[in-house]
């Protein structure tokens, strides 16, 4: 790991000026479960690391009239176990899907949303867009079994790694981003972007901003929500495809639906066609399967990941069926 300057601010006012104005100069350190391996592998080589764990205002889950504020430093374990989160099964289930207690106890909400892609070309030093010396992406003709099947027109082929993001987007959450010029709020649905160059990042965060909170809007607790993850293993592993759904039900019929796929595209992937297919329908095997079908209509599998289309289809179907079941029955991947 390249030597770096380490900053441990105690407040936001202390922290913000420590951040750089260009990507790569400074990195924010939360739980460190991702940043440390990135640094050890020289994938990122910051000159300064700003540890935000001393920022108390970023802790805790709090109810307000506008909704639930989840601090960026809330751990995945807190998310999985805290009482208020039981109202949002999609989110608690997504947190539970990270089956390593160590990672759940260290990893934070902010870190989960901002973690970098797991694309093995990126992690081996070929850059975010995984290009060889000639600038050609290594992914389409390479080992792409875990890469994107949607939103993969290039130049990015990685999948967004966050399991929380699809659930939060389905619940209509937004992010609060704080910079030296004050704060701004961005719907999580607009937070993630597909980078066009290696110099860009995977979200709209500026290098001198901190994601401080995620806000689930008031009323979202009324939604029937669920996350379904297809995982090859039960022990710590990455999902192959996931779906988070949040349904507004009226008299047994879908009044409105949000369906977001995870781990299938460079950003959490909304499925408006699938949502539309459910309008006014009850949730049953047939309607859920039809929605799953609609969700993958635009899929363009790469040479080695056609199987993920089927998995995404099934994830949507099973998430819908789980959401429609009475609460407390969890949805979980595996057999």
């Amino acid at each position: 790991m390249q030597a770096f300057e380490y900053a441990h601010p105690r407040s936001m006012t202390e922290a913000l000026p420590l951040l750089g104005s260009r990507w790569g100069e400074t990195e924010i350190l939360a739980g460190g479960t991702d940043l440390l391996s990135l640094m050890k592998n020289y994938v990122v080589t910051p000159k300064r690391v700003v540890n935000i764990k001393g920022l108390r205002e970023l802790r805790g889950i709090r109810g307000t009239p506008e909704g639930i504020y989840i601090g960026a430093l809330v751990t995945l374990e807190e998310l999985r176990t805290s009482q208020p989160m039981h109202e949002y099964p999609a989110l608690a289930q997504a947190a539970a899907g990270v089956t390593s207690p160590q990672i759940r106890n260290m990893g934070t909400v902010g870190g989960d949303l901002c973690q970098r892609p797991r694309c093995w070309y990126f992690r081996s030093g070929f850059g975010l867009l995984a290009r060889d010396e000639s600038g050609r992406s290594l992914v389409p003709q390479g080992e792409n079994r875990y890469h994107a099947i949607l939103g993969n027109d290039g130049p990015a082929y990685f999948v967004n790694p966050s399991s929380l993001a699809p659930a939060l987007i389905a619940l209509g959450a937004k992010a609060r981003l704080d910079g030296q010029n004050g704060e701004r709020y961005v719907a999580l649905a607009e937070f993630f972007v597909i980078p066009k160059s290696d110099a860009e990042r995977e979200n709209v965060l500026q290098p001198n901003e901190i994601l401080t909170h995620v806000i689930i809007p008031e009323g979202a607790w009324e939604l029937s929500s669920a996350t379904y993850e297809v995982r090859q293993k039960e022990a710590l592993d990455w999902p192959l495809a996931t779906a988070a759904v949040a349904l507004k039900m009226q008299a047994g019929k879908v009044a409105s639906a949000r369906i977001v796929l995870g781990h299938v595209a460079p950003i959490p992937w909304p499925a408006p066609e699938a949502e539309k297919s459910l309008a006014g329908q009850p949730i049953n095997e047939a309607t859920a399967a039809r929605a799953g079908e609609a969700a993958v209509q635009g899929a363009k599998p790469l040479s080695g990941n056609r199987y993920k289309v089927q998995l995404a289809r099934v994830a949507v179907k099973r998430a819908l069926l789980a959401a429609a079941r009475p609460r407390s029955i969890g949805a979980k991947g595996g057999v």
């Binding site: 790991m1 089956t99 060889d132 090859q232 022990a235």
Partner: protein, 698 residues
């Protein structure tokens, strides 16, 4: 005189009992130090510069910038310019610095220029491998053409498994320290008595100058027999710096270069009569073992089908060096054979247990053992109740299927020497230049010594893991337990006989009328006539007894072999597997392992070996693959994230049954490290098929 032969069943006080491993507490509490934990005064850390290319020639190496980096104390070029690189991750330069981080940073400043050459890293079909395809001579037995013509039923299929790695918990590596021309190596090795010579050759010093220490080690599985290039480089760095150096492989390097198991793929045809009698086998196989051709795989496995035709082609690739992997070649051959035979049973519409039993004669000498084990395994997995023809008719998306597999292994003991000292204060030491890879070797040695001397386990001090102790073989091929059991039994018996000879006159009897039982030396049949062990030893005055024992060099084989040790075991495993037919996610629900290994010294550690083998088998059957990228020539998953291993939740229920008692015990001690891993990996792939077929794949 005490007899060498193992005591009869009724007369064993420790042998065959369930005894917890002696080093369990110090290992689980972290008190014992692995090579990884070695911390010598003033020690430096070594890191290596690795080739990013799979095949290349080194043009030039410039270490000036690295030498100037903070903390750097020595730089050692491991491969000179002009030499060829044969895999990505091959070591080029080693650097020693005050901290690991400094060493890592400095290694990145070494400038190496390469001329890239074409590579191949995938085990493609021979037709696509060009001149890297190296066909072996065709082998035939009987008259395969005629047999296939006459076969009433034939079945064809393609089966295979990928290149996988060893994934030892403790990475490869060592710490080295010089004192003048004498070198001490703390090595994570399977070969305490053997690697000193390799260090000596590499360093051009007399072999006697090297001392190897491995008090405990974190697994090797066949990948840790040599001094390795990094071992020699580590010692060279230590010499240059004049300080101890520790150089352990990083996990990524470990997965890239520290051992791979060859892949194999095969197109198989099997012929049979309608009644299930197997008559013919043909296979066209290929696979990669890196840049080596290996031999022809011995297909079919276990079943000696009378008419056979086999063609094999080795595909030479730049995947890294192949190393022996627990039961070398057996798991791959087992998988292919069992999968093909189960497909045959399915086509014949016969219960595979029935078909296996019908053909059990083809397994040769072990056929009775297999038949008994098949019966036991079937009972434990409730085969009769659960088995159904292919295609699970049960409703829902989870379909289940059963699988069955047979395996064999030699496991004869290796040459081993043991020294036993009985001290006048009554304490006992047994010393062997052996090693405990985590299998329980230390415990087994203590059990045998204590049993022989009629002492409690705690009374024996076991000295292993030091090359200054009497030479004992490397721990590979399940040879250790046989080797150390025989040498320990002989050394301790010899020592005891010396003691008895000294005591006999004072008790007024002949030596052969004395025995050591329950902490006493006493007259056989007259226990009151005797003395405590301590009293007896006190009579030695100031001269301890020092006796030695050796393993006999030839190991008798076969079920009828009778000696302290023999070789040749059979095992049967059966599994119940569930598959989600909408997602293809497979889960092992239950695995039954029935195994024989002759006389069992410690039932608990023996069972642990089988559990461990099964877990390793489940890992490679369901998850493991060393994923190579043809474009870059690199391994893409040299980490524990995408190099997938099962966690506890993925393993399912394991049931282990050891075959013991009459018919097994008389054969003496036989190794157990390899056998249990062979079948487990064969159990899943076709089980999935079994569950999927007609079950309504989505």
């Amino acid at each position: 005189m005490a007899d060498y032969r193992w005591p009869e069943a009724g007369k064993r006080s420790l042998i065959g009992k369930r005894i917890s491993r002696l080093d369990g507490p110090v290992k689980s509490s972290g008190r014992v130090k692995y090579t990884y934990d070695v911390d010598r005064p003033n020690m430096l850390y070594g890191k290596m510069v690795l080739s990013p290319y799979a095949q290349a020639t080194i043009k030039s190496i410039d270490t000036t910038a690295a030498e100037k980096m903070p903390g750097v104390k020595a730089v050692q070029v491991m491969r000179e310019p002009g030499t060829e690189i044969l895999w990505a991750g091959q070591e080029v330069v080693a650097v020693a610095a005050e901290t690991e981080e400094q060493a890592r940073d400095a290694a990145r400043r070494v400038v190496v220029n390469y001329e890239k050459l074409p590579h191949l890293v995938r085990d493609v079909e021979p037709a696509k491998a060009g001149d890297r395809a190296k066909p072996a001579a065709e082998q035939t037995e009987g008259d395969p053409d005629k047999a296939f013509q006459e076969a009433e039923v034939t079945v064809e299929g393609q089966y295979g498994c990928s290149v996988i790695t060893h994934c030892c918990l403790e990475a490869h590596g060592q710490a080295t320290e010089w004192e003048g021309d004498n070198l001490t190596v703390w090595a994570s090795t399977q070969n305490v008595s053997g690697i000193g010579g390799e260090f000596a050759t590499g360093l051009k010093i007399p072999a006697g100058n090297v001392r190897t220490l491995t008090p405990v080690m974190g697994g090797g599985f066949g990948s840790k027999f040599g001094a390795d290039t990094w071992g020699v480089a580590c010692a060279q760095l230590a010499k240059k710096a004049g300080r101890p150096v520790k150089m352990m492989l990083e996990r990524d390097h470990e997965l890239m270069v520290a051992g791979a198991r060859p892949s194999i793929h095969a197109k198989v045809r099997v012929g049979a009569q309608k009644d299930g009698t197997i008559t013919a086998w043909s296979s066209e196989s290929w696979g990669t073992g890196g840049m080596g051709t290996g031999g022809s795989p011995r297909l079919p496995y276990v079943f000696r089908i009378p008419n056979q035709r086999k063609r094999h082609t080795a595909v030479l690739t730049n995947i890294g060096p192949v190393r022996a992997w627990r039961a070398p070649n057996h798991p791959q051959l087992c998988l292919i054979t069992m999968a093909a035979l189960e497909d045959l049973a399915a086509k014949l519409g016969i219960d595979p247990v029935e078909m296996f039993l019908k053909n059990i004669g083809m397994t040769g000498e072990l056929s009775k053992v297999y038949a008994a084990e098949l019966q036991k395994a079937a009972e434990l997995i409730e085969w009769q109740k659960k088995w159904h023809p292919r295609g699970d008719k049960a409703p829902g998306v989870i379909k289940r299927g059963l699988g069955i597999s047979l395996h064999t292994w030699g496991g004869g003991g290796h040459p081993s020497n043991c020294a036993c000292a009985i001290h006048p204060d009554g304490s006992v030491e047994v010393s062997l230049g052996s090693q405990d890879l985590g299998t329980g070797t230390r415990t087994v040695i203590a059990i045998i010594a204590a049993e022989t001397l009629g002492l409690p386990l705690e009374a024996v001090k076991v000295n292993i893991g030091d090359s200054h102790y009497p030479q004992s073989g490397g721990s590979g091929g399940s040879t250790t337990v046989g080797g150390v059991s025989a040498s320990t039994r002989r050394a301790t018996t010899n020592a005891l006989n010396e003691l008895l000879a000294k005591m006999a006159p004072s008790l007024g009897v002949e030596n052969d009328q004395l025995e050591a039982v329950g902490g006493r030396i006493q007259v056989k049949g007259n226990p009151s006539k005797g003395m405590s062990w301590k009293q007896a030893c006190a009579k030695l005055g100031t001269t301890p007894i020092n006796a030695t024992g050796q393993t006999s060099i030839t190991t008798p084989t076969g079920p009828s072999a009778r000696d302290l040790i023999s070789s040749g075991v059979g095992g049967v495993q059966m599994a119940e597997v569930a598959v989600d037919i909408e997602t293809g996610v497979v889960k092992l629900e239950k695995l039954v392992a029935v195994q024989d290994c002759g006389l069992i010294i410690d039932l608990k550690t023996a069972e642990s070996q089988v559990y461990g083998g099964c877990i390793m088998g489940v890992c490679y059957a369901l998850y493991e693959e060393k994923i190579m990228d043809e474009q870059t020539g690199r391994c893409l998953n040299p980490d524990m994230e995408f190099y997938k291993l099962a966690g506890i939740a993925d393993i399912g229920e394991l049931v282990v049954h050891m075959m013991t008692g009459p018919g097994y015990d008389e054969r003496g001690v036989i190794g157990l490290g390899e056998p249990p891993v062979i079948s487990s990996g064969a159990l899943t792939p076709d089980k999935v098929l079994a569950a999927l077929e007609k079950g309504g794949a989505a």
